[in-house]
């Protein structure tokens, strides 16, 4: 095992600090949270141990839970679908734009803005025309009155409006990652391929994509896990409302823990989220490794 040929002491010095911190701030809280999930506890007084009751109610009797799971996964999938577009954009920028960096920096701007600012900004864009909503006013100006909506207050569309903002915000982030990846591919390969007759789309299919798969994978995992934990944007724009129409797992967990003061139940939701994250991380890695092998 010891391929690096270093002493156990050196290994310990380098690995232990990070390991201990990791265990303390990640692993132990997860275990504690699983345990709390088995309590009937308001967070303040005495806790009662109820075994798997919370999990049972959550999975079989909770009317809010499964729709929230569905929205969470929908969002995760939507943000994964965004990545190929980022890659395409990166390829185009790299090929046709002389100073691609400037454009990429501009696309990146929303990422450095705080979610609170973005949320408030888009809230005013989505507002009804009577309150100065830009989107509705624009639609009215173009004579599309029938297309106007109270975007964030209609249960059927509110969640998609929020997703759109999140996707818009993180487009630049993934574009930057992909763009850097594309730029790192040596131009000699393309030149050689050109001589062999592979140009344009063909070059992308057989050169760019196989070489960028590892970077692509990072983006996919980041996008997926990031969206499973999405909370802030939704909290700012609708607070999970109207009703529970825009609740995702994280907001629902927060509401049950802190608003309903059912910390045990909230922890059960948190535990579910942990498992969901783990399962999907493993799944994505497996799929991606296959893709990796196929192309290289």
């Amino acid at each position: 095992m010891n391929v690096l040929k270093v002493s156990a002491l050196t290994l310990g010095v380098f690995v232990l600090p990070a390991l201990i911190i990791y265990i303390c701030i990640v692993f132990i809280p997860i275990v504690v949270s699983f345990y709390t999930g088995m309590l009937d506890w308001n967070g303040i007084g005495e806790a009662k141990f109820v075994g798997f009751d919370n999990f049972h109610n959550l999975l079989f009797h909770d009317k809010v839970f499964w729709p929230a799971v569905r929205r969470t996964l929908l969002y995760a999938v939507a943000s994964m679908i965004e990545i190929p577009f980022c890659l395409m954009m990166a390829v185009l920028l790299n090929r046709y734009v002389r100073k691609g960096n400037t454009l990429v920096s501009i696309y990146f701007t929303p990422v450095i803005l705080s979610v609170v600012i973005i949320g408030q900004l888009w809230k005013t864009i989505y507002n009804p025309a009577s309150l100065g909503g830009m989107l509705n006013q624009a639609l009215t100006t173009f004579g599309l009155d029938s297309w106007t909506h109270t975007w964030l207050s209609e249960p059927k569309i509110a969640i998609y409006c929020i997703f759109f903002v999140s996707l818009w915000q993180y487009f630049g982030y993934h574009l930057l990652i992909q763009f850097t990846g594309v730029q790192n591919i040596p131009s000699e390969i393309y030149e050689a391929a050109k001589i062999d007759g592979a140009d344009g789309f063909k070059a992308d299919r057989y050169i760019t994509f196989p070489l960028i798969v590892p970077i692509f994978k990072i983006s996919i995992v980041l996008a997926f896990i990031g969206s499973l934990q999405s909370f802030d944007m939704i909290w700012i724009m609708t607070g999970g409302g109207p009703g529970n129409a825009t609740d995702v797992l994280a907001t629902y967990m927060y509401k049950t823990s802190f608003n309903s003061q059912q910390f045990g139940y909230g922890s059960a939701i948190a535990s579910f989220l942990v498992i969901l994250c783990l399962v999907f991380t493993v799944a994505i890695n497996t799929v991606m490794n296959r893709v990796d092998k196929k192309f290289s």
Partner: protein
């Protein structure tokens, strides 16, 4: 020597790197640590420590020792009179008692509620904190987190200054655990100019008149009633007024006592009438994504004609551009039912002393001084509306506005009422109620269905 130094440097750098790597690892692939942290006891200690650790000084019985008291409060806005009152009183007290330092932990209401719950989790409540009455403070009292204040209330006649019955909301088993900072009622503020523009001569006295006025205002392109329904309690506040009319006071208590259920006709009728109000277009479009502050500003900038909330808003409405045009009326009767002199009551937020405090006696002494002088200073600071205590003084002579005086008049008419839903029912039922009502703003629901949702939430959580 030099190589040794280099080695040391290398180790240090490696250490720093590993630290930052750990940070990356936790934030990238394990959301769950972050999200579960909030609800697990082990993490709460870290988030709560700064405010709650009292000074490391020894428990001091003698008055000469240095004592630091932490005072968690909900008055963050320096422009409000209460903020000024608080600072005036504390400065004075520290001057009179040089050995006592009072450290403020100032948060807005929602943050404070959250922080206090987290601190209660690990029994690290600040020496003096603030809680909402009745059902909302019951879990804290049940867990013995507050000290009874009975002895302190008897000092300097503090108890007799409070309005009769008010302390009951903060008392459990004969002990009073917190002292309220206010006592408010809910009224409907209205903009006289906008009413005139819509051709409405007098404020409505029946619910049907209210609906007619809503239509008249809407026809003129005026938002009839401003609300910030993203913060769900605002809608519940209005709904509870209707319930108070259709049923009379004490509905929720009757439910809690098992005498009634949510499927009672009085409740479904209230839901129906509330829905009528929403369907008539009483509230601004997209109300469910508008927060309470934005809702208020719709009214204070003259875009909306009515605004229904507790009388604690009087000061800020007075100070706004529409101030001189505003008056207040009582919530009308509903289908001939109810007494307009019964109000939704908001018995303030109470100051409580933590049982884990190392300086209980000092905290009691301070709070006694603070509460005794609170009404006087508030009166001087033009904030006498909604005080928990009796004050003597001529409002007119002291330069109070007509609005403030008319609101004070309404106070004198109060003939009982109810306190808010979340102060009566436990947090889980309240949350179900708030969500269910918010839903009415975006879709028509059969009142029987709403009643059923309430009842099943109540049945599932009543023992907690």
């Amino acid at each position: 020597m030099e190589t040794k130094a280099k080695k040391a440097l290398a180790v240090a750098v490696a250490g720093a790197l590993s630290l930052s790597l750990a940070a990356c690892g936790s934030s990238n692939n394990n959301d769950n640590s972050g999200s579960s942290a909030g609800s697990s006891p082990s993490s709460s200690a870290t988030s709560s420590s700064p405010a709650s650790s009292p000074a490391a000084s020894s428990p001091s019985a003698d008055s000469g020792k240095k004592v630091k008291l932490t005072f968690q409060n909900i008055y963050p806005d320096p422009n409000t009179p209460t903020y000024k009152t608080l600072h005036q009183l504390i400065d004075q007290y520290q001057k009179d008692h040089p050995n006592i330092t009072i450290e403020l932990d100032t948060l807005n209401t929602d943050q404070q509620k959250l922080k206090l719950k987290t601190q209660a989790n690990s029994k690290e409540i600040p020496d003096i904190t603030m809680v909402n009455p009745a059902a909302q403070m019951k879990p804290f009292v049940d867990a013995n987190l507050f000290v009874p204040l009975n002895d302190m209330l008897d000092q300097n006649g503090l108890k007799d200054t409070y309005q009769s019955g008010l302390l009951d909301y903060y008392s459990f088993n004969g002990n009073t655990y917190a002292l309220p900072d206010g006592n408010n009622i809910e009224v409907v503020y209205y903009n006289k100019d906008l009413f005139q523009q819509a051709g409405i001569s007098a404020p409505p006295t029946t619910f049907d008149e209210l609906l007619a006025d809503v239509k008249a205002l809407k026809a003129k392109g005026i938002i009839p009633m401003a609300i910030g329904e993203k913060d769900t309690w605002t809608g519940s506040f209005i709904f509870m007024n209707i319930l108070l009319r259709t049923n009379g006071p004490g509905f929720l208590q009757d439910v809690a006592d098992g005498k009634k259920t949510f499927e009672d006709p009085a409740f479904t009728e209230a839901v129906q009438r509330f829905q009528d109000l929403i369907q008539a277009g009483a509230f601004e479009d997209g109300a469910t994504s508008i927060d309470a502050d934005t809702g208020r500003s719709l009214f204070t900038t003259g875009k909306a004609a009515m605004y229904m909330l507790g009388t604690w808003e009087t000061g800020s409405i007075d100070a706004s551009p529409v101030g001189p045009k505003v008056a207040a009326f009582q919530f009308p009767t509903v289908d001939g039912k109810g007494d307009v002199n019964q109000f939704m009551l908001a018995p303030g937020t109470g100051y409580a002393i933590a049982a884990n405090s190392e300086h209980i006696q000092e905290a009691k002494d301070f709070l006694n001084y603070y509460c005794l002088n609170f009404p006087k200073v508030q009166f001087e600071n033009k904030n006498a509306v909604g005080l928990p205590q009796k004050v003597d003084g001529d409002l007119k002579a002291a330069g109070y506005s007509d609005l403030a005086i008319s609101v004070m008049d309404l106070f004198s008419k109060v003939n009982g009422g109810d306190i808010s839903f979340d102060n009566t029912m436990n947090p889980a039922v309240s949350q179900a109620h708030l969500t269910s009502l918010q839903n009415l703003f975006v879709q028509k629901v059969d009142p029987a269905q709403v009643a059923k949702e309430h009842q099943s939430a109540y049945d599932a959580n009543k023992d907690k």
